[in-house]
Amino acid sequence: MALDDLHANFLTTQLEKVVNWARYRSTWPATFGLACCAIEMMATGAAHYDLSRFGMEVFRASPRQADLMIVAGRVSQKMAPVLRQVYDQMPEPKWVISMGACASTGGIFNNYAIVQGVDQIVPVDVYAPGCPPGPETLMNAILTLHDQIKSSEILKREPAAS
């Protein structure tokens, strides 16, 4: 087959690279704002920091349309089952960013009410430190996640534990 017969441009690549490219360039976060960090998450999405540069400005209210959950804030014992349910409703593949000290470790609230780290409930891919993390920190976490997605193997990703 001669290339002359082709009427359009084309390029060759690996399927995995295309899929990963598509995934990391349009990661849609679910709006899962809990506490202070949610405000910084909003600020990240707003004009000054402009998350749409990374194809991520579409915060989806429905978990069915989202593939990234940014757990922004402290998770209480009462909220934990809800959080897990929202996570379960998200379609695979899905990622979790634990935003802030409270979501990652419980922060300064080591008491009866707060889950000491959201990784006890859902698997976390990236932890963003800070109380609250500034928008730059969150964006760094997002870019770190992008790198992870970019270099992941689409067939070998383990399904999340139930």
Partner: protein
Amino acid sequence: MTEPETNTPDSLSLGEVDGVVDFAASEAESETAPTPLLADVAGRFPDVGYEVSHEQEVVIVGVDTLLELAEWLRGDQHFDMCVDVTAVDYLDHWDRSMGTWQGERTRFEVVVNLLDLGLGGDGGRRPRRLRLRVPVDEEECRCPSLAFVWPLADPAEREIYDLFGIVFDGHPDLTRILMPDDWEGHPLRKDYGVSRIPVTFRGDRERPAPEGGAERG
């Protein structure tokens, strides 16, 4: 739903009912009441105690007199707004070493903060605040509900019930509000631990395995 019992004047004679704290025993003489408002209160309710705490007027009232006093404060004294209802657990301080008064052993105290916006009456009055402290016995752990006097007390009393376990008689819907419905215990009691979880790090041998195996390999 039960209406709160209205206090008849007869039931106010202290000493007939068991467990009533006799605040009047602490040298509270109405002649020496420090402010006009407290003098009014003391004149009308001889069995309540009072003090001035950091320039704020405080009335210490037993659970039996509370409803009548509340109605009077809201109606005659124009304390239109109840800003807050909370509680304190004086477990470690039976004798109230906070320098208040020598009373009988009552573990809990319901604290009601009242506000007079200065609207009622002939107008032009200055706004003022008043605080009610209501000692609540540990055994009975009951207090009349103020929800029918100031509707704001409704959620506040649910919070106290949730966190301290004090039962409010006559409350329309006394259920847990902050903690999950199946929670055991009342977290803000002093004998309820903070439930700290020791901080561990990844790779720590004593780190407990996460529940549900949520860790990804």
